[in-house]
Symmetry: C2
Subunit: 353 residues, 2 copies
């Protein structure tokens, strides 16, 4: 008999099997090793009170049968799944990759696995995902909310599911939240442009129903007001997110009756598109973007950004999550992490009036 089994073999096995293929259970292991069920359980879990000889026999049976403990049954019995859920907007976004990874690191350090899903910025999908995770009885949830009403989570909070929101606050419920100083960051970024002589500064950002977008817009307006510059309607473009519309928005504010000499972009995706548009312009236009982007320093000019630290955001949130699970943490808090202005050239261009 060959060591490797053909797919057809496996398929046949699957068909004949009642449930998980026909995976061996502790009972099978016990029978093979000639011991009781509980003794197998003890060996598998490294509990004391088993003779080395017995342990050896059991271990042998386990290896021979390829037994793997069924965690579903274990969870059912014990009540803890040792897994946490992460719901974010889009795993493919370079901002969420590091965030996700840092959450995973903390989970791993606490012996938990990470289940994650992308909401695609759709509140309904967010809820669907979160509830699916709750049905799986994750011990905790890290949520980057898409929606603005999270009352559906009340039963989970009451039941003791640890929950931390990241990047944006929860809606209608009192929960931990870890976010960047979006307002301050944007205000500083825009103020930086103003300090370099700009007065006609444009803003391109996401839909203001998204908390981060709204805060950054607020920061833009605050900086302009602080400088005593009235903002013209044509300078602000909201809710544009796909490259084509961002492109049009940028081109319009660069060509109107009072064209902007600088643009502040509300997130990394917008920034990337605007960089492309500006590269096609004949006159130099200053740019500061929210979120750092890779290779920003190698472009001509380098791209000045307001950077937030995705990894720290994720790590902080995950650490709070596990402190909630410890029982160490009692009061929901709002933690705001500072942003950092990184000057690389594009934000220091003088106005080309």
């Amino acid at each position: 008999m060959p060591e490797t089994h053909s797919r057809a073999d496996r398929f046949a096995a699957r068909l004949s099997a009642n449930r998980y293929g026909n995976r061996p259970t502790m009972k099978d292991v016990a029978a093979r090793a000639g011991v009781g069920l509980k003794t197998v359980s003890r060996v598998v879990n490294g509990e004391p009170g088993v003779t080395p000889e017995t342990e050896r026999r059991v271990q042998e049976a386990i290896d021979a049968l390829g037994f793997r403990r069924n965690d579903s049954a274990r969870v059912l019995r014990k009540g803890r799944t040792a897994s946490i859920g992460l719901v974010l907007e889009d795993l493919a976004d370079p901002f969420y990759g590091p965030l996700s990874r840092s959450v995973e690191e903390v989970a791993r350090a606490n012996g938990a696995l990470l289940i994650n899903g992308s909401s695609a910025e759709d509140p309904e999908r967010e809820q669907e995902l979160v509830l699916a995770l709750c049905a799986r009885r994750v011990d905790g949830l890290v949520v980057i909310p898409a929606g603005d009403d999270h009352r559906y989570l009340e039963p989970e909070l009451k039941a003791g599911v640890a929950t931390v929101f990241v990047d944006r606050p929860a809606g209608q419920i009192d929960a931990d939240v870890v976010l960047s100083d979006n307002f301050g960051g944007a205000r500083d970024g825009v103020a930086h442009l103003i300090a370099h002589g700009h007065r006609r500064v444009g803003f391109i950002g996401d839909m203001p129903r998204i908390h981060t977008a709204a805060e950054r817009l607020r920061g833009y307006r605050a900086a302009m007001e602080d400088a005593g510059i009235p903002v013209e309607a044509a300078w602000t473009s909201l809710g544009v997110t796909d490259p084509e519309r961002v492109r049009r928005a940028a081109e319009e504010m660069l060509s109107g009756p009072s064209p902007v000499t600088a643009i502040f972009t509300g997130n990394n995706r917008v920034t990337v598109t605007v960089i492309r548009v500006l590269a096609e312009q004949t006159r130099p236009v200053a740019l500061v973007g929210f979120d750092d982007i890779e290779l920003a320093d190698l472009l001509q000019p380098g791209v000045t950004v307001v950077a937030q630290d995705a990894a720290t955001l994720g790590r902080t949130a995950a650490e709070r999550l596990f402190r909630q699970l410890d029982g160490t943490l009692l009061t929901p808090e709002r933690i705001e992490l500072p942003t950092r202005l990184i000057t690389r050239g594009s934000g220091e261009l003088p106005p080309a009036d």
Copy 2:
């Protein structure tokens, strides 16, 4: 009584609770609605045979208690978890984000959740992760292997756990694998440099124990051999992966007795670092990199790359996974996706001898 509960309340609840906080069960719902247990199950699962009136009563009880079905128990009973596992190298790597996302999309289309973990290129950690996923009885596994011996998966394969390897083949077992044409892509990339007049072409890549790295190295050597160019030892640098060492490697091959006039880089991270080094050089050095990178077109010069399609890689793998679960797919296959040479300038620079 306030609508929102304080963390202290919740914590108290958690302490007094025996297991999942004190989550209501179907039994509780049944009691409250004044119906039998199975009737609740029927309502929850949308099975037929329940009067609208009864259904309404049950639904009311569910909402009032905040009941969520316990999927652990369900899985235990039914045998399918409706979740798949994805083990990759590093979620934070811009190559794996889109891959992960596309796997998630397919999972979602098939009603499954995605659990994922990063192996950090450590075979032991890979195995640990995979086995943890198996203990959770995921229906299928998508693995980007770090190790080269996967015989530990034999019991799972036999038990009918669908398994697809991505990006690199499995070791010592016969399993589906979806990968890019690493050899062909690298060979074409290097040939492109040679076609533009280069003869002294350097190669910087990852450890050859990693399949992709070995294949790309093989492609480099093949292209050089096809052109009848003997490769000098100093032109090849392997196993360097952190930016500092990549930098040193690049600087060395640019300054030796027979300095290279062009460099082929073996993956996105290496490429990024080499771009930085080349930006500091006085004479122009040609560059072709494996993997596309964002903004590559906006650099001066644009970066010519051999692009692989991470999303298609992930989608193809996930689709095969679910076809395995259908029973549609019987024979393990090796699927190789083509790469695409994208010329942007850096690869077309003439040698600066």
